[in-house]
């Protein structure tokens, strides 16, 4: 994890600091999007979206297919008009700037390298169009080739490259003219798993070295979680939540986010008591229907009596061999699946719901109970999260 990520995590965890950070420290904003909507004849691709992306940030748009990620990128790049709303680049509206005048470059999903030009000519193209000097262009081209480790491939044609190499040329071509913002539309989706994992680290490293703001589009949650400073989770043209990987995963704001990112358990429940209310972080006592009580956190202001679900990640649940006391949640162990580093257990709770548990196969945490056994269930502190339906 990098520095930005940690600082964001800290401020998400402690509300006092949060207020300080957002009001007193001016944040340099690269892209600011206000109330943006995009309608096609029969679909609403983007529905009143507002978000701001900080300078030098690795920002990810994550969401299922068709949620409007590409549309948003294409609007920022200037290929698509907006139906309503505004886009600002470093504080200036770019509505009237055509695509070829925006200091924003794109790494296209299908790379779109110019097939009749060599790798070097592809990389030089943007700089030539900007009218840089020949010596600068040559120098920068070599620098870019070195950055993406393709110095020996300068004279090849795109058709003579492997998928991974073509992807890196596309990246070098987009970085070469030193854009203020780089847009990447699922740049890794055409690569095989091994290469994809290697390229994630490489991309992240290049972003940190160049200090360029990256807006990265993906529908792969693992990719989003491992690379991003912040993630915007999108669904059906709306933004569901914006936050660091940690916040999005540990403190989902609604059922969609909790469901879309990772695996989770959802248990029906009703709020019985509000213990502590601090705006963005509230402690609640919830009655799990037919099971008993549990303390949970919530980011929204919630009144007693509200119904919803309590969400708990499988890795935050532990199986207790014996039920220590009466108030504890109980269930029957149904299935154990060995998965290498972890074991995954399915437990049938007393109210009939099934619960997924994942526990590391270390000697200390190994599950010793057998299918059929009645077991107690423990949850980590602060692991339960109450979400309104």
């Amino acid at each position: 994890m990098n520095i930005t990520d940690q600082s964001i995590d800290r401020n998400a965890n402690s509300p006092e600091q949060n207020t300080l950070l957002t009001t007193d420290v001016p944040v340099d904003t690269a892209i600011d999007i206000q109330n943006l909507s995009k309608h096609y004849t029969d679909v609403v691709a983007l529905d009143n979206i507002s978000l701001s992306i900080k300078d030098k940030e690795f920002f990810t748009l994550l969401g299922p297919s068709g949620c409007g990620k590409t549309t948003l990128l294409r609007i920022i790049a200037g290929f698509e008009s907006v139906s309503a709303g505004k886009v600002f680049l470093h504080g200036k509206s770019i509505a009237d700037l055509p695509a070829n005048k925006r200091p924003i470059n794109t790494v296209f999903q299908q790379y779109s390298l110019f097939p009749h030009m060599s790798v070097a000519d592809n990389i030089k193209f943007g700089m030539q169009m900007k009218g840089s000097s020949a010596s600068h262009i040559n120098q920068r081209c070599e620098q870019m080739l070195a950055l993406v480790q393709l110095s020996d491939y300068a004279t090849r044609k795109p058709s003579q490259l492997s998928g991974g190499q073509a992807q890196r040329v596309a990246l070098a071509r987009a970085l070469a003219p030193e854009p203020e913002v780089l847009l990447l539309d699922e740049p890794l989706s055409a690569l095989d798993l091994k290469l994809r994992q290697a390229m994630r680290l490489e991309l992240k490293q290049i972003q940190q070295e160049t200090g360029i703001t990256f807006i990265f589009v993906t529908h792969d949650q693992e990719e989003a979680l491992t690379m991003s400073d912040r993630i915007a989770v999108m669904s059906a043209g709306k933004i569901q939540q914006i936050g660091s990987a940690h916040t999005i995963y540990e403190k989902p704001q609604n059922r969609f986010v909790a469901d879309f990112i990772g695996e989770t358990n959802m248990l029906e429940s009703t709020v019985t008591q509000v213990i502590d209310s601090k705006g963005s972080s509230n402690a609640l006592v919830c009655e799990l229907t037919g099971l008993g009580q549990i303390t949970a956190s919530s980011s929204a202001d919630i009144a007693p009596g509200t119904t919803g679900s309590v969400c708990i990640r499988p890795e935050h649940i532990s199986i207790l061999e014996t039920a220590h006391n009466e108030s504890q949640l109980k269930g029957t162990l149904e299935q154990l699946v060995y998965m290498g580093t972890d074991t995954q257990a399915t437990i049938r709770l007393t109210n009939g719901a099934s619960l997924l548990v994942r526990s590391p196969n270390s000697a200390a945490q190994k599950i010793t109970a057998q299918p059929g056994d009645t077991v107690g269930i423990g949850t980590d502190e602060n692991a339960a999260r109450f979400l309104i339906d």
Binding site: N100, P158, P177
Partner: protein, 311 residues
């Protein structure tokens, strides 16, 4: 797109022997037709061009270089003066080439934007546009050329409209001019330019022009540096398909150009018409035309293979 087609080419497995034989058998009718209707007539022309002329048309089976001699050299009225180069026929060829070239350029200038327009329409409406382009060509070329002659007459509809609209105050004299021939050729062969260019623009991946715009290229630069190089094969095919038939055309020059604007096609036609003709000379003129055309194609093919090799 490019990389896909290339890798497909690389993956072609040599066909096994039986499959190969099968394919040859299937091609047999085509080979017969080509052999009978193309190779045999060309060989006949070649042979005739080296024979002696019969005065009332036809040939005498006696070897002679007279036809080629007549084409290139002037030996006086009775053939007894020292040979000097005769520019008459060479000039006709030169003028024909120039006319064909101008007609080709006209077709290109009008045809490229047309093809571009059609290729960028929604997929559903493209066939309709192609259909509209080809409609006039359902009418016989002769009738189209005659009607063009009627249209551009000094007191024809074109001049009448222009006069009435006040665009001109005197009829433009078009008939029997070079321009009339060029327009006639242009009108005769326009679809041969539009269709191959359309086919190659349709295959063009327009995300490449977005990529160019993303990298600060203006529309004009994108057209010049990205689109044109990639649709070049279509443009060259179109130019050849217009230039070659224009070079040997005789309807448009005959009907629209008059005697002054004589072209190769008319020259050759004369040699085989009635009793005044000269078959060996007509055959020799045809062979010279054929050689010019083959040279043009050869130069193109060589350039193409060089470009392929560099890729």
């Amino acid at each position: 797109m490019k990389s896909q087609s290339n890798s497909q080419q690389n993956n072609i497995v040599p066909a096994n022997a039986t499959f190969h034989n099968q394919k040859n058998k299937l091609l047999l009718p085509a080979w017969l037709v080509i052999g009978f209707f193309l190779v045999v007539p060309v060989l006949m022309m070649l042979v005739y061009s080296f024979l002696t002329k019969e005065f009332r048309g036809g040939v005498i089976w006696e070897f002679s270089l007279a036809a080629y001699d007549q084409f290139f050299f002037d030996r006086g009225l009775f053939g007894d003066e020292p040979a000097k180069i005769d520019w008459t026929y060479i000039k006709i060829y030169g003028r024909s080439a120039l006319q064909a070239l101008i007609a080709t350029l006209l077709c290109l200038v009008i045809g490229f934007p047309t093809a571009y327009y059609i290729a960028t329409r929604p997929v559903r409406s493209r066939p309709l546009w192609v259909f509209l382009i080809t409609i006039p060509y359902w009418v016989n070329l002769l009738i189209r050329t005659v009607s063009m002659k009627f249209l551009i007459r000094d007191n024809g509809p074109l001049n009448t409209w222009l006069l009435q609209a006040g665009i001109i105050d005197q009829p433009i004299h078009l008939i029997n001019t070079n321009l009339a021939v060029q327009l006639g050729l242009f009108y005769s062969y326009l679809p041969f330019m539009v269709l191959p260019i359309y086919a190659s623009i349709e295959r063009f991946d327009f995300s490449l022009s977005e990529a160019a715009a993303d990298l600060y290229a203006s529309r004009w630069t994108t057209l010049r540096q990205i689109i044109l190089p990639m649709v070049k094969p279509g443009i060259i095919a179109g130019c050849i398909l217009v230039f070659v038939p224009s070079l040997g055309a005789f309807l448009a020059p005959d009907l629209l150009g008059g005697a002054k604007n004589f072209m190769i096609g008319s020259l050759i036609e004369e040699q085989f018409k009635g009793n005044a003709g000269n078959w060996p000379f007509g055959a020799a003129s045809s062979m010279i035309l054929l050689i010019i055309v083959l040279l043009v194609l050869l130069i193109y093919a060589r350039n193409e293979s060089h470009a392929q090799g560099a890729r």
